[in-house]
């Protein structure tokens, strides 16, 4: 079946612009996660959705970052007034169930470059 898809695959933007990154999870997966992977860094958790609610937003680095999920499916991560330190690969993952024992399946990522 289809895996997690993300768009765009690459995004180059100028400092100060807003960007939107999209994630389509595996059909039927109730939980959705956003992570960030910077050069030389491990994967860093950003936010977790269970259905359309976000019980854990603890990883969002600043109030410039926000995310929403609609219809228990597609999610959008928005970064406002982008900064150079926002350059990274943004990865989305989904799991059949949230919390305890759901294996997370990742998409290919969106590579964001802020110039």
């Amino acid at each position: 079946g289809a895996g997690v898809s993300q768009s765009p695959s690459n995004k180059v933007t100028e400092k100060g612009k807003d960007v939107e990154l999209r994630c389509d999870p595996i059909s039927g997966h109730t939980a959705l996660y956003w992570y960030r992977q910077s050069l030389g860094q491990g994967l860093e958790f950003l936010i977790y959705f269970q259905g359309n609610s976000a019980p854990d937003k603890s990883g969002l680095p600043s109030d410039r970052f926000s995310a929403e999920r609609t219809g228990g499916s597609v999610s959008t991560l928005t970064i406002q007034r982008t900064q150079q330190e926002d350059s990274a690969v943004y990865l989305c993952a989904s799991s059949l169930v949230g919390g305890s024992r759901g294996e997370q399946y990742f998409g290919p990522g969106t590579r964001l470059t802020v110039t």
Binding site: E44, P55, D56, G59, S100, R101, E103, Y105, P108
Partner: protein, 111 residues
């Protein structure tokens, strides 16, 4: 503080030369430990989940084991196509769905 440390950072093997990758962790309580494989330019690919000390899982040339403080990913008679970065992650209690990842081990297998 929950933490995951992987070693070595990089490992070069000859085809057929077996070895092990280490993942040491410190968590207040472990719901599960995950192993992923990541190829350049791609998202992590799920390999294994381990839930309790003593548990082992195998897939082709890979075997993952778990103790109370660390996990090993054993690779037997590796092939060049096993070259990738291997990521370890822990799922702590009271952290919702959050996984905490190690920095990864970059494995290169030469023919």
């Amino acid at each position: 503080e929950d933490q995951v440390t992987q070693s070595p950072e990089a490992l070069r093997l000859q085809e057929g030369e077996s070895s092990s990758l280490n993942c040491s962790y410190t968590v207040s309580g472990l719901r599960g430990l995950f192993w992923y494989r990541q190829d350049p330019g791609k998202g992590p690919e799920f390999l294994f989940t381990l839930y309790s000390a003593g548990e082992e899982k195998e897939k082709e040339r890979l075997k993952a084991t778990l103790t109370k403080k660390e996990s090993f990913l054993h690779i037997t008679a590796p092939k060049p196509e096993d070259s990738a970065t291997y990521l370890c992650a822990v799922h702590p209690y009271n952290q919702g769905g959050k996984l905490i990842f190690g920095q990864g081990t970059e494995l290169s297998v030469k023919p």
